[in-house]
Assembly symmetry: C2
Homo-oligomer: 212 residues x 2
């Protein structure tokens, strides 16, 4: 089955797994051979990834793995603030998908104990995607997932997955707690401050790495 979606997924997996590092050039010829598809088919997949922001396309210079700048990081956190906080604030209490949030946090805690930071990051992404899923909007969830995937490339770029994610496991747990026992609005406020802290940490890592 060489359906395009499958090819897009295979490429996305590699990107999120960090096998293809931010900034890496993606040669059409070599990747086509590697995935055993034609150049044309690969290019169709590239368009999708480009639209999702995972890949940067420069005319006549090909595509490369997106390498988010600090400006991109700021932009991404703006999206996160607006989307995540608004969704959480207006979420009904006891939305069934809160279970997904909880499951993601527990998964993150498990992987953190194993010091498998890549998977901690994946679980963290799942947590925030679960938050947005409280909106019951497929479109919002999809767009947001794209933005989060792009943010993961930012993490991979500065290569500091551990301490960026570790402190937030407990804070995510608290968000669930407040959402369940106090109010969605209070949880949204809490999440907002956490996002602000997270953004600051990422930008700090960028500054230390000397990256633009």
């Amino acid at each position: 089955m060489n359906h395009d979606s499958s090819l897009v997924n295979r490429l996305t997996d590699r990107l999120i797994a960090g096998e293809l590092r931010p900034g890496d050039r993606l040669s059409e010829a070599s990747l086509a051979k590697e995935f055993d598809v034609s150049r044309n088919t690969l290019r169709e997949a590239f368009r999708v990834l480009g639209e999702q922001g995972l890949v940067t396309h420069i005319p006549h210079r090909g595509v490369s793995v997106a390498s988010p700048s600090t400006a991109d990081v700021v932009d991404i956190y703006r999206v996160r603030h607006h989307v995540e906080c608004s969704v959480l604030e207006h979420a009904p209490r006891n939305h069934p998908n809160a279970a997904h949030m909880e499951a993601a946090v527990e998964a993150a805690a498990k992987f953190a104990a194993e010091e498998n930071w890549l998977e901690v990051g994946t679980a963290n992404m799942a947590f925030h995607n679960a938050v947005v899923s409280l909106s019951d909007s497929r479109r919002l969830a999809r767009s947001f997932a794209n933005v989060l995937a792009e943010l993961r490339l930012a993490f991979l770029k500065v290569e500091v997955l551990d301490f960026l994610h570790a402190p937030f496991i407990e804070r995510n747990r608290e968000v669930i707690e407040v959402y369940r026992n106090e109010s969605p609005a209070a949880a949204a406020a809490k999440l907002g401050t956490y996002l602000g802290d997270s953004e600051r940490q990422v930008l700090g890592a960028y500054a230390r790495a000397g990256q633009g």
Copy 2:
């Protein structure tokens, strides 16, 4: 210049202008001939439009102009509520882009006087895109623009552009007023109720048209 972006734009223009109606099948062969590009190039453009939600792709059955269902409309309005209201609520007072909002409303009023409802709709889209531009986030603006373009297909589907847009010109003006003279939060609340009314009207039109 047969750059893909240009092809995507040409296709998007046709979609938004209503030349290609929702549900219309887009034959690769005939469109390739019409735009004088190869099938492969056209297919790359289709991927982009599919990712943007303007076009529906069913394997081995080709692409057709997206024909939003009532469920899609509801989903789209969920996005609108979360994004537009959140952005407006947290927008700084006197954001320079408020001028864009104002310009869009005046354009809409002008076209309404000419009873050019298609352009009124375009101006209305511009207004709401301007609202989201207050977030200063390119990503949010892009994703939102895609969703609005999809919503326009919903309008075209039920073919009632006039009364769907007309009443909202004045209400948009009021939103600007409140944003400027009262507070962004109050403006966001006002916009929220307007969006609710708008959604109800569109769904009503769907019901009358007997569309799913």
